[in-house]
Amino acid sequence: MKQQTATFRFALPSPPHWAVRLDVAQPPRAGQYVLAECGGPLREALFPADVDADGFTALTPRGHPITRLLPGASVDLLGPLGNGFRLDRVQRLLLIAEADKLSVLRPLLNAAPAVTLVVEGPTRARMPAPDSLPPAVELLLVTLDGSVGYLGPLESQEPAPAGQERIGPLLAELIAWTEWLCLACRRERYPALAGLVRQARLQPTAHFAQALVHTEMPCGVGACDVCRIPTRHGEKHVCTDGPVFDLLEIGNE
């Protein structure tokens, strides 16, 4: 962990987000983050949606303070911070994201020869544009209103109404199929999702399922205690112990 100066290149609309490009010597890896000084009383956490040798692109909400910078501006960063996703020699990769949290998984879309991405969202309009994904990725959609794809939520055990289908059985197959599982959902979802993993795989290896936890992280270094969450091994700091945790550690508090 250290302090670096990045160069802000641009912020462009990338609905429903803005794409923000920063050039920096040590970019964060997938699931890691930086804390950027953007003029407010606290720093802003930025997760990479795309990383290369010269820097990274983050997807931020519209109106995010960093989108107000002028191209060429210097940005003071703390980081890269935290533990990202760790994937070794992976052939088959399963990704599960809520639609508005998908961006943190985007750096993994090319991480394996066979990638399956399950996206859950409230409705069809909130699903990612297919052309924003690499063509090789197999995309499965789940909507809470059934407007496209399977009927959500992901973990529902209830029978689907006529003409609609749940993803449950397929998801169990995918979890059995994949070598690694990476998730980006609200933290409250993880216990139920951990339950799916335990049902589908009897003895998952440590870190088989890696879940990114979103919380406010004012300091990023374990100083402020704002980001503490309960885990199977006591309270942990999302900022330093995470943001990527073993799903089975945080899925069963």
Partner: protein, 281 residues
């Protein structure tokens, strides 16, 4: 050298009068990559209670303009676990370690104070009081914390300085931190799902940010300033200090030292800048 406990048998002397406020710096080692040794005059830790405390439920931080509202629940692993984890680090600390002790009951406060004082490197204790503590209870808690035998600083709640500060000094506090952050309330941003729910959801917490500084200066002008200081103990200024100039203003208003609060998270280097400004005096 700044002496924060001039009448205490051990004293509590600091190489430079700048330190983090309780709750912003962890227990000592997390800023090692960003701040070199020797910048701080003392290391005030995050709050420590005898028994472990869990993090608060619900929203823990909210910003609005320049303001930061914080409600963590003072989570910590408890005095024993913290000593196990950080005792070695504190022992090697080049500056006095000042654990911030959460005053709960007198019995627990005494036990925790005694435990913490046994650690090498600990030079004094800062006691944190609940906003609504009675005056008698505050004195009782102070006496409990004195069981440590170490110099005792009390951080006085913002709204209670008039009532508590003189009583605490009379009861033997070696120094006072003026002040703990003011209590404040803000509405939580509407979650889209909640629009239907009646009533405003609120977050209660402690208020941080630059607006606290003019309120702090008013307290210093009344209680610490040369001529006005009826308290006759060293005063540590705490609240919204944002620059070397702010720190020097506190000193000119009678403070013996300053604590920097949430600004440390955004700009850890401000501690270095303030220390340098003091060195240059």
């Amino acid at each position: 050298m700044i002496e924060l406990a001039p009448t205490h048998k051990y004293g509590l002397s600091l190489p430079t009068p700048v330190m983090p406020a309780a709750g912003v710096f962890g227990y000592g080692d997390v800023y090692r990559d960003l701040l070199e040794e020797g910048v701080l005059g003392a290391l005030v830790t995050n709050p420590i209670s005898l028994r472990p405390r869990n993090v608060a439920q619900g929203q823990r931080i909210l910003t609005r303009g320049e303001q930061v509202l914080l409600h963590t629940g003072l989570p910590n692993a408890g005095a024993k676990a913290i000593l196990r984890q950080y005792g070695k680090y504190w022992e090697r600390s080049p500056v006095p370690v000042i654990p911030h002790l959460v005053a709960t009951t007198p019995a627990e406060t005494s036990k925790a104070a005694v435990l913490l004082s046994a650690a090498r490197g600990v030079g004094g204790i800062e006691l944190g009081l609940a906003e609504n503590v009675s005056e008698d209870k505050a004195v009782e808690l102070l006496h409990a914390a004195q069981d440590s035998g170490l110099p005792l600083i009390v951080q006085v709640p913002f709204s209670r300085v008039d009532a508590l500060a003189p009583r605490l000094v009379e009861a033997g506090a070696d120094a006072l931190t003026l002040t703990a952050p003011p209590r404040a309330v803000l509405p939580l941003p509407d979650a889209p799902e909640d629009k239907a729910e009646s009533g405003t959801r609120l977050m209660r917490g402690r208020l941080y940010g630059p607006a606290v500084f003019p309120l702090l200066l008013n307290v210093l002008a009344r209680f610490a300033a040369p001529g006005a200081n009826q308290l006759h103990v060293p005063i540590i200024a705490c609240g919204g200090v944002a620059s070397p100039a702010d720190a020097l203003t506190c000193i000119s208003l009678g403070a013996a030292a300053v604590q920097v609060d949430v600004l440390v998270w955004r700009t850890p280097g401000v501690l270095r800048e303030i220390a340098a400004a003091f060195k240059a005096l």
